[in-house]
């Protein structure tokens, strides 16, 4: 049964505006939502954006294209390697650079580790919003292992600038392979604990089931992608629909649920952890030897004039870069289509008439990262 309440015609004078301001424990980042409340029901929601706008797309018009790589990591700090991947792929497609095979494998392994790390943080922070204070600590304990592995390879813990146009900046060694395998084994052993403590908990299930129901048609209208779309039953994942890199070589499932509520996207993200582990294992098993940088990458990367596009599957949905170049090495226009922007836009329609606790639940299940909305 849905908890949304119908709008009465002459009730506007009972309403008051509550500002879930830019500083709030459960809007992850600087998101401001103006709630018009009637009692505890949110009748009208208006997200106000722009508190974190840093003009990334304008910066791209002033620097040579390959110098934009650190900025991609700052747009979504949780999925930094995947953003790097999308941008590196964009420039490689534009300039016609072929990357060696070892590079593709390294990119896939590190991207999937990044996806797991992002989902673990979402898991912990979502439960913190709902009032459970310990699962975030357990999730961060697992996440520390990933951060240590990636720090050993890339040198940073969060905002990685590891991929380059034509390859990666540093090679992986045996220590990486052994510690990643150990991590895969460890995380698989932790899933029963998470199921016991969190997923099966009756209080959590009551908070998540039947809240914020989405349909595939609503998702299509707003351009929602990612685990939210997969929670409504549509098995759309860019890694399968338009395979990039070497994802077509791996055998992994796309978890879907049918109901489209918060519990559905919760379970989809939780199951994606297992699928990412499968991809990592298969990639480690078939890791080839070879160079880590393409043969001829010019120092001054002139991009031929034209329009180029590259889409990758970020942890939050479909991430697309669109580059318009006029022949020099500085882009004419770079447009980044981030998934959280479209995911946020369903909030005024889906969360209308919900209790505040449900608004918090629904917004947490969208897995928003505000810096990538504001860019």
């Amino acid at each position: 049964m849905s908890m949304n309440v119908e709008v009465l015609e002459d009730d506007k004078h009972h309403r008051y505006v509550l500002n879930m301001g830019p500083q709030h424990p459960s809007t992850h980042g600087v998101l401001r939502v103006l709630l018009e409340l009637e009692g505890e029901y949110a009748m009208n929601l208006l997200p106000v954006l722009g508190y974190g706008h840093r003009c990334h797309e304008k910066i791209a018009e002033f620097k040579p294209a390959k110098s934009f790589m650190p900025n991609t990591a700052r747009m979504d700090y949780l999925g930094a390697l995947i953003y790097n991947h999308g941008f590196a792929q964009l420039l490689e497609r534009a300039c016609g650079i072929e990357v060696p095979e070892r590079v593709e494998y390294i990119r896939v392994i590190t991207s999937e580790l990044n996806r797991i790390q992002s989902h673990l943080l979402w898991y912990g922070a979502y439960l913190l919003d709902l009032g459970a204070f310990t699962p975030i600590m357990y999730a961060f304990d697992d996440r520390e292992h990933i951060l240590d592995i990636l720090e050993d390879v890339t040198g940073s813990r969060l905002t990685y600038c590891y991929f380059r146009v034509g390859g990666v900046s540093k090679d992986i060694d045996d220590k990486f392979v052994t510690s990643t395998r150990a991590f895969v084994k460890r995380l698989r052993g932790r899933f029963p604990m998470y199921e016991d403590l969190v997923n099966g908990n009756v209080i959590l299930q009551n908070r998540l089931i039947d809240i914020g129901e989405l349909t595939p048609q609503t998702c299509a209208r707003y351009g929602v992608t990612g685990p939210l779309l997969r929670g409504t039953g549509v098995a759309y994942d860019i890694r399968r629909a338009e395979p990039y890199s070497i994802y077509s070589k791996f055998d992994f499932e796309i978890p879907t649920e049918t109901k489209g509520d918060c519990m559905a996207s919760f379970l989809v993200r939780f199951r994606e952890l297992e699928q990412s582990l499968r991809i990592i294992e298969q990639a480690l098993d078939s890791l080839p030897e070879g160079p880590i940088m393409a043969a001829k990458v010019p120092k001054k990367l002139k991009i031929p004039a034209g329009d180029y596009n590259s889409s990758v599957e970020a942890p939050r949905g479909e991430l697309s870069y669109y580059l318009v170049s006029d022949g020099s090495d500085v882009p004419y226009r770079l447009k980044v289509r981030t998934p959280s922007y479209s995911n946020l836009s369903i909030v005024p329609e889906v969360c209308q008439g919900m209790l505040i606790s449900d608004v918090v639940s629904a917004m947490g299940s969208l897995d928003l990262v505000i810096p990538e909305i504001d860019r």
Binding site: T154, G155, V202
Partner: protein, 146 residues
Amino acid sequence: MRSYFSKLFTGAWSLIVGLKVTIKAMFSPIVTCQYPREKLEVTPNYRGHIDLVKFADTGTHKCITCGSCMRECPSDCIVVDGEKREGVKGKALTVFTLNFTKCSLCGACVEVCPTKALDYSDEYELAGFARTDFHYDLLKRVEERE
């Protein structure tokens, strides 16, 4: 009626199962490190701010003042300058400063250097009271390092 009781019992059982997980965690060893009393070992590949490398064979840096790092830097935080000295081939380095407040740790400077004169340092305990605390004079640092 039956779903009333079944919901109650499955709910209560899930709560008890959750309690078992936490009590087990309560008696597990802690996983945090009591910084600053205990410190973790930082990997040698950590990307701190860049430093000029002191080579053992010459006892000094190998920068040839080509200015590639200054040109490659996306954030314009490196200033390299040299002067022509007589008897020395090429330019001699006189100024090499890094404005770490703007650095985005991309690594372009380290990778583009033709003589591999730059490398990342492993300092992570950086705290200061003014922005000028992070304007590093790398030439002075390499000369003072033993």
